[in-house]
Assembly symmetry: C2
């Protein structure tokens, strides 16, 4: 007896294969036959576990959204008890850019933008759970830091969005169009300069 039933193992194999292929080749660039082949499973088994291609896609993306959300949320918490804003914001920005711009999430972002017409709810959910949730959580932190006199953010949500995009926009937008490589040093440069600009506008 293994740690998982045979069914559960097959189910996971299908999920893994589908995730790999959907992220690599997009929704319509991936066929159910390919998924079955990569999962080393018959097509029947795929259809026993997932009603159809759309359902399979939605389940995978939804699971990944939850995972990505957990990662980013964990990072924001670290700011809560900051005394040294400049240093802590810088560390946060460096971690943030590294998390959000990992190849896996970049690819996911592109795939979702590509299918946003066909799966509008999925796209909306992705935005709300990713950037959207990130912004509101960060805004709450900024509000608290403003109360403690370490920042000055009359519109905390706007400040959070400014911060987020100052950190991410430059490399993120390039990565949407070409799979250029960025070094860790470049990420740190973007992160640090973003913090500098942010503090010039919102620091005390």
């Amino acid at each position: 007896m293994s740690s998982q039933s045979r069914s559960a193992r097959k189910h996971d194999a299908i999920m893994d294969a589908a995730r790999t292929l959907f992220l690599r080749n997009g929704y319509s660039g991936t066929s159910m036959d390919e998924i079955a082949a990569l999962a080393a499973v018959s097509k029947q088994t795929v259809y026993k576990n997932f009603a159809d291609k759309e359902r399979l896609f939605i389940e995978i993306i939804t699971a990944d959204i939850a995972q990505a959300e957990a990662q980013t949320q964990a990072n924001v918490q670290a700011l809560a008890s900051s005394e040294d804003i400049a240093t802590d914001l810088r560390d946060f920005a460096r971690r943030h850019i590294t998390i959000v711009l990992q190849p896996h999430l970049i690819q996911m972002r592109r795939v979702i933008i590509a299918v946003a017409d066909r799966f509008p709810d999925l796209a909306t959910t992705w935005y709300a759970s990713g950037p959207g949730r990130s912004h509101t959580t960060l805004a709450a932190q900024f509000e608290e830091l403003t109360r403690r006199g370490l920042l000055r953010t009359p519109d905390p949500l706007l400040a959070a969005q400014h911060f987020n995009w100052l950190v991410l926009s430059i490399p993120l937008n390039q990565l949407m169009f070409s799979p250029e490589e960025f070094t860790q040093a470049q990420f740190e440069y973007y992160a640090d300069e973003a913090v500098r600009v942010f503090l010039a506008a919102y620091g005390t």
Copy 2:
């Protein structure tokens, strides 16, 4: 005898129809039959004018890139002889957000991201001619303004990118995922706040 030969008219009708459909339904969501039907032209005529679907797509996007580039470039020139930086930057930002976020360009952006794997050169060209060119032109202006003591931009290209994304990122990223509407007033708010943040960091 009309102002255009029959051939030229058909050619344009095909371009128009293809542009409409490609932007509305994406590359693989559009069939050559649909294009021919919308252009009120036979499929043969389509293939007489364009070697295949890929060529047709590339020609359309390339033409649109050129047009979008002209629009944004024209806008940047207005900054050249500024005396009142705050006012002129604000006006520039307001025009910039209105141009770049027009529905047509948003849709184009999404379509290109969707096919970036299949047409890597096209995606790279789009970025280079759009945001890329915008950044370098703006950077040149910032450099000049720094020379004249109106700004302080040690890295003008970085400053240009910060400015660009401060203005555009918030609505742009939402529009990638859902076709939410923004009012002119919201655009102005984003533009004005972007200028405020920018000048706090890069003003004199």
